[in-house]
Amino acid sequence: MKLVKAFKMALLGIWGNKFRVILSIFGVIIGVFAVIVLSAIALGVKDTVMKQMGSLGAEQIMVMPGRVLKDDGGAHNFLSGVSSSPSTLTNTDAEEIGKLKSVESVTPLLETVGRIQYESQFGEARTVEGMLVGTSDSYQEVIHTSLEEGRFFTNDEGANKDRVVVLGSGIHASLMNQNQNQDLMDDETETNVEAEKKWWQKLLDKFTGNTVNAEEAPTAEESLVGKEVIIQGDTFTVVGVLESVATLGMTSNSSILMPVQTALDVTSTENLTNIYVKADSIENLDQVEKEVHGAVGLNHPETDFSTVKQTEMLGAIETVTKILQVMLIGITATALVISGAGIMNVMVMSVRERTREIGIRKALGASTLEILLQFLFETILLCLAGGIIGLLLGYGFVQWWNGAITIFPLVLPIWVIQLALGSSILIGCICGIYPAIKAARLQPSRALRFE
């Protein structure tokens, strides 16, 4: 009963001071908005990276150039330094690892920037730059991607240094783009029909087992599978196109994939960027790591490489996100304390200005507790209103981002919302208690004489 009354009085009190109210909750709005957006970004980045790293599988061991410092426990300490020495890893190292019995698959990775050119049937040439990746057929497994059409190259093709290439969806689209634009200029409706057909084709391919042969590849400019492209001056045959993925960082959309042997042949690069190794089981991962280390060490008398287990990578990311979280909490606390101080100031002024009102209320039957609750609720409501507005703005921002920007999705879990609203209420309680006590302790006769 008393609570309801005090709540009602608080609402009326706020309504009577609209302008000041809006000004005073500005800080809370901005604070909560910033917190929501920052946490959504931090959590979104963490989620995306974790998903990518996590999808590698726990049996993964990565061989990377340079030495990662180990801390006392023997775990790699990524934060205190990865020496950025040029890679000395070679395909021979990958082959040595492949000889190990406890290793299920080895995926060498050679990454360099390359150019790819395609000349359409209309005689128009288009050149695109992309990430040239030399690897093996197990790459698909590591990067967790499947083919949109065509097939992946085989290890035999690698051994023969065949000029075969698998295109990332982005590269494929860019190479096709020019021709599609031409279609657009010719007839717009026709393009729509084309697109429709493509979609049907895709669905049909899925049903029929997704093995579109290079020779059977759809006519004209629908796909480059089976077509010839020029990379680094050499002629390559496109054998497949990767499915498009919208992710941050390790995206394969702009990749130009070819067997690692071919890549070594056509580029000036001699060293691998890194090597992914998959152990045959999780149990003796430490043992496998040692063996891998030994195998690579055969050709590296001086240790200029590191072997890192997947779990260690995840741990490193966890550490980074923890630091991010601590920073976030710090920002939240600072923002809310500052806005809380503003609100407290406004409320103290409000109590002073409304001294007579308080005197009248007390004279006419309001108890000390009712006055206390009225002003406390007023402050809490202010903070909560600011929190809700900030939350809505933040939510709107996250929605907009996720709709318009595809690099990585922002994540807004319910606990962030609860935290934001909870801390607004908490700030309201903390900052409201002093003005409320000040109001409640006013002596009615004196308050009535207040000018």
């Binding site: 009577g16 009248i360 004279a363 006419l364 039957g365 309001a366 000390t368 009535l448």
Partner: protein
């Protein structure tokens, strides 16, 4: 109904303690209608605050309906005040942010009563002072006399047994003063105890008894005291 004996009240001021009430004795029976007169600054409002339990005397005894006011807790006093006493303050004391209706409703806000009943009471009180058409307006939209009537409506809305009115006709013309005094007569007939503070002898004459505050003491009004007014 009320018995005050040896009431003392002083305030701190620049020149040390300034005594306002010194050893005041006063008694009033239930249903009595008393006017208190006195020149400005003699402590009439202070006395009203003490009678209305808004302020505690420095020393002395105050019995209200047999209860020892000077021994009661603030919480109990608040409850009692809300039920038993109606206040007409000297400067109207309306809350500017609230409408006339909400201002009159104030004493009932702290009552445990149904909404409909409260609303009816507010309407009735506004009707008695002739302001039923102004309930949605804000105090600053009213004239001084209208504000005074709102203050009176608020004082009677909780149907108090004691009405304390500090200069309720101070800013009213003769006609309105007369209607207010008629209302007071009406309340008096219904058994409400009324203490009316005024400067106006004509107004004071409507009461059964006239008291005169001077030198911190209340004296019965006689011909002699009236000569010294």
């Amino acid at each position: 109904m009320m018995t005050l004996s040896n009431i003392n009240k002083s305030y701190k001021s620049a020149a040390g303690r300034e005594s306002v009430l010194g050893g005041l004795d006063f008694q009033i029976d239930a249903g009595e209608y008393v006017a208190i007169m006195g020149s400005s600054g003699t402590g009439k409002s202070t006395l009203m605050n003490i009678l209305g339990t808004l302020e505690r005397p420095d020393c002395g005894e105050y019995l209200f309906r047999g209860k020892k006011i000077h021994r009661m807790s603030n919480r109990k006093l608040t409850l009692m005040r809300n039920k038993e006493i109606g206040f007409v303050f000297q400067n109207y004391q309306l809350i500017p942010n609230l409408s006339i209706y909400q201002n009159v409703m104030l004493p009932l806000e702290y009552h445990r009563k149904g909404f409909m009943k409260k609303r009816d009471r507010v309407r009735k009180a506004l009707m008695m002072v002739g302001l039923e058409g102004k309930s949605r307006q804000k105090p600053q939209q009213l004239s001084g006399g209208q504000k005074q009537r709102v203050a009176i409506a608020r004082a009677i809305v909780n149907e108090p047994s004691l009405l304390l009115a500090d200069e309720p006709t101070g800013s009213l013309d003769e006609k309105t003063t007369e209607s207010i005094l008629k209302l007071f007569d009406h309340l008096h007939q219904r058994g409400v105890t009324i203490i009316l503070i005024t400067h106006d002898m004509e107004v004071a004459k409507r009461a059964e008894r006239i008291m005169y505050l001077k030198g911190g003491l209340l004296k019965e009004h006689t011909y002699e005291t009236s000569q010294s007014l």
